[in-house]
């Protein structure tokens, strides 16, 4: 309970938590209020209307309500980020555990492959890969997951190396516990904190990167309400129809902000060695 109180005292982290919680709530609840099919349907007569009571964020080039589409975009953004982070964890964490725990060729190969993936900025690799896989949200997600796992491997590797020499591991080895058991039952819980922090920050990072992919036309495909895509379309209607590109960008800002603040808060809480600031 102490830890919970400590968290509540961290105002930015609480704000981040509220944003993330609200976004998840919206993503889960919006099918109850909004018919996604209807929201995608062009309504040519009402195209490019400025913000008003009827259309709080205005309408786009096909006369669709931007407010509704920004709300629907939350599903897309969260879905992509969650899928990518989970997939990257599923690949990256076991590899990091293994490479960190054992020595030898396999471990060496894993880390060298990790180096290769980290040798080019993630976005560049992801763009190329998304292009190869064909356009669409699915390929963008695969591309992002394939380029993001090394970050988990690196983090976990470093942590495991630190924990490996700990007394309890040696004790377990002495007891002839199986390697898998040691890794998952004993080492993993001890390196969980940095993984959780990395995942939370990663959510924000992936949302940003996925938006770039959508913006460049290698991510989400129309009529998806994806924010990056909406900015790319809205950009063509500047400066008169400024609302078209502005609001989706603000949505990205708010959601990423939420994950970053939450991640910082979690880091302060879980991982005292990496304290950000006071």
């Amino acid at each position: 309970m102490l830890i919970f109180k400590k968290f509540l005292r961290d105002i930015p982290a609480v704000l981040g938590f509220i944003i993330v919680f609200a976004a998840i709530a919206i993503a889960i609840a919006d099918p109850l209020f909004i018919d996604a099919k209807l929201a995608n349907r062009p309504n040519i007569i009402a195209r490019l209307q400025p913000p008003s009571w009827e259309y709080p964020f205005g309408t786009d080039n096909l006369g669709r309500d931007i407010f509704i589409r920004v709300i629907l975009g939350t599903d897309t953004a969260l879905g992509i980020a969650l899928g990518v982070v989970l997939a990257a964890m599923a690949i990256g964490v076991p590899l990091g555990l293994y490479a960190g725990y054992s020595d030898g060729l396999v471990s060496e190969v894993i880390m060298r492959v990790t180096d290769v993936f980290l040798a080019v900025p993630q976005l560049i690799l992801a763009i190329a890969l998304a292009q190869v896989l064909g356009r669409g949200i699915e390929s963008a997600m695969v591309a992002l997951a394939v380029t993001y796992w090394p970050f988990f491997t690196r983090t976990v590797y470093a942590e495991v190396r630190r924990v490996r020499t700990a007394l309890f591991v040696e004790a377990l080895e002495g007891l002839n516990a199986s390697r898998t058991r040691i890794l998952f039952a004993h080492v993993l819980p001890n390196v969980a904190a940095p993984i959780i922090v990395r995942a939370s920050i990663g959510m924000g990072f992936i949302i940003l990167t996925a938006a770039v992919l959508g913006f460049l036309g290698v991510g989400a495909v129309p009529p998806s309400p994806d924010w990056g895509l909406a900015i790319a379309e809205g950009r063509k209607y500047l400066p008169e129809h400024w609302w078209f590109a502005t609001f989706p960008g603000l949505a990205i800002l708010v959601l990423v902000l939420g994950f970053n603040l939450l991640g910082d808060g979690l880091r302060d809480l879980l991982d005292p060695r990496l304290r950000r600031s006071r």
Binding site: V120, V132, V212, N260
Partner: protein, 336 residues
């Protein structure tokens, strides 16, 4: 130290090989036929088949890869399937633009990041400090391409005080090429008009790219300043009665610089990533916009080459950072 640098240099080789292999495999998997791209819009299937043969696309993949390796080692990145121009030439022409943009962005991020960070650390919990912290979290959460568009909207389209796009005013001849960096070349040639124009054009894109890095550096500097100020040594000096300014300047600053400098290597990757979309927004004729074009045209040779070049630069920057880090903190060099 020399040995340390050499060791770092050797480490980059397997990474580059792996990188080449990775991109090569990826791009061979991809849809789209480079032969069809070369053959052009009105080609017949026979024409396309003939070009496939000429390009060696029917050879075993292993041969194609080794062929590419040998050529790349000689600086020959092949001919663009899109324009028929040597890719190396295109990259050479565009690299300076990206370097100029990234360097200016790094300067902005470092200079402003350090200043803001130090002040905010020293004036901890002041209004200024709070504003800086808010700015830092927002800066890190902003999509750079969107921020670019917003800056364009406000400063170019609305206020009309900064140029919308490009590297130089239209119609203005570019300064004679020495470094390829317009700001430097213009000064070398004594062309003040070109210098001001280049400066005006680089402000918005460079600032956009720098934003996240600026926030990161400010944040790291702030916390290092705070921990230095809180350290026992500083506490001792304060106790002894040294004026606060005298403590901050020589002691705290030197100690606070180490962490931000190590961040620059990481930031460079972020800057190059940001540059891709930001260059596209500002029509900045660099590698980023070249990559975007190459992707839209399935220009395999170009995509491979850009990825490789960025990998090499990234590697060099990281080596430099390691070396600087080693100089600032000799313990690092020993462990590597």
């Amino acid at each position: 130290m020399v040995l340390f640098v050499i060791r770092r240099l050797i480490l980059i080789i397997p990474i580059l090989l792996g990188l080449l292999l990775l991109t090569f495999v990826m791009l061979r998997m991809g849809p789209g036929d480079p032969a069809a791209a070369i053959a052009g819009d009105n080609a017949t299937p026979e024409q396309i088949a003939a070009i496939r043969e000429d390009l060696g696309l029917n050879d075993p993949a292993v041969f194609q890869f080794f062929d590419y390796l040998v050529r790349a080692a000689q600086g020959d990145f092949g001919v663009s399937v899109y324009s028929n121009r040597p890719v190396g030439l295109d990259i050479a022409q565009r690299l300076p633009a990206t370097l100029e943009l990234t360097i200016v962005a790094l300067l902005i991020a470092t200079v402003f990041g350090l200043i803001i960070g130090v002040l905010s650390g020293v004036w901890r919990n002041s209004t200024f400090d709070h504003l800086v912290r808010i700015f830092a979290v927002i800066g890190l959460a902003t999509a750079s391409f969107w921020f670019a568009i917003m800056l364009q909207l406000v400063f170019s389209m609305d206020l009309g005080i900064l140029p919308l796009r490009g590297r130089l005013a239209t119609g203005m001849p570019s300064p004679p090429v020495v470094t390829g960096l317009y700001l430097v070349d213009a000064l070398l040639a004594g062309r003040l008009d070109a210098f001001w124009s280049a400066l005006a054009h680089i402000i918005l894109p460079a600032f956009t790219i720098a934003l996240g890095g600026l926030a990161t550096i400010a944040r790291f500097t702030r916390s290092s300043v705070i921990s230095s100020l809180e350290s026992e040594y500083a506490a001792y000096e304060t106790a002894v009665g040294y004026p606060r300014r005298r403590i901050i300047t020589p002691y705290v600053l030197r100690n606070s610089l180490v962490t931000p400098v190590t961040q620059i290597g990481l930031l460079f990757g972020a800057f190059v990533s940001n540059a891709v979309a930001v260059e596209a927004v500002f029509d900045w004729p660099g590698l980023g916009s070249y990559l975007v074009e190459a992707i839209f045209t399935n220009d395999y040779q170009a995509i491979l080459a850009v990825t490789l070049v960025i990998g090499v630069i990234y590697g060099i920057v990281n080596i430099c950072v390691d070396v600087i880090h080693g100089l600032l903190d000799p313990r690092v060099a020993e462990t590597m």
